[in-house]
């Protein structure tokens, strides 16, 4: 079955960790997960300057691994990202900011990416804060 996930919880919240565990379990069960959309505080997942507390799992790294192993697209909503201090190189240049901080494996795009995956997906599971 084709799943889509919507993550609006921030990376340090429990629901963010659950989204990752859910993604892993869905792929392990043979389902497909073409895209995860990070929206609201979930946009903070794309921040490369983030370090998890010691001895705690790195949610961002977990997603990057699923992206590499299963081709899961990690899309961060641009409007949510800009409001929360996550910027790719293009935006940083346009806004004359000193640098960008988008983590490898994540892409920044619009809400169309959410609407589009909903047209394809058989199930969408949401992980709110």
């Amino acid at each position: 079955m084709k799943f889509a996930l919507l993550v609006t919880a921030a990376p340090h919240q429990e629901q963010a960790w659950q989204a990752l565990e859910f993604g892993r379990a869905a792929l392990a069960a043979g389902h497909t997960l073409p895209r995860v959309f990070f929206y609201g505080d979930g946009a903070l997942h794309g921040n490369s300057l983030f370090l998890p507390p010691q001895d705690e799992p790195d949610v961002q790294k977990g997603w990057q691994e699923l992206a590499a192993s299963h081709g899961v697209e990690l899309v961060v909503c641009i409007a949510a990202a800009i409001k929360r201090g996550v910027m790719d190189a293009d935006t940083a240049e346009r806004e004359e900011k000193a640098g960008s901080n988008l983590a490898p494996g994540f892409v920044i795009s619009g809400l169309g990416q959410l609407a589009e995956i909903m047209l394809e997906a058989e199930r969408m599971v949401s992980f709110p804060a």
């Binding site: 659950q18 892993r24 069960a29 389902h31």
Partner: protein, 94 residues
């Protein structure tokens, strides 16, 4: 296992949230307690639907296993995925 039904996923514990969820709950729907939603199993005066499940890791971490009600089955993320497949749609309450 009802194809037209909704899986409700509760991840917070406030009386108002649980009350609205229960009012929106149809006969063949399912309920999964996750994160702080597992505390709803102990809310005084609230009866959760028959067949309600909960994520074991979240129950265990919170120290709720010793008094956990037998009527609420414990599951894991693989079970969570299965529940999503069995129901036609999911609704996350937080």
């Amino acid at each position: 296992m009802n194809k037209a039904s909704t899986l409700h996923i509760l991840s917070k514990n406030t009386g108002a949230l649980t009350a609205t969820l229960l009012r929106s709950f149809s006969e063949n729907d399912g309920l999964l307690l996750t994160a702080d939603g597992v505390y709803a199993a102990f809310a005084c005066g609230t009866t959760l639907p028959v067949g309600t499940q909960a994520l074991r890791a979240d129950v265990e971490a919170r120290g709720l296993l010793p008094n956990w009600p037998e009527s609420i089955a414990l599951t894991d993320h693989a079970g969570f995925v299965d529940l999503c497949v069995q129901h036609a749609r999911s609704l996350s309450w937080s």
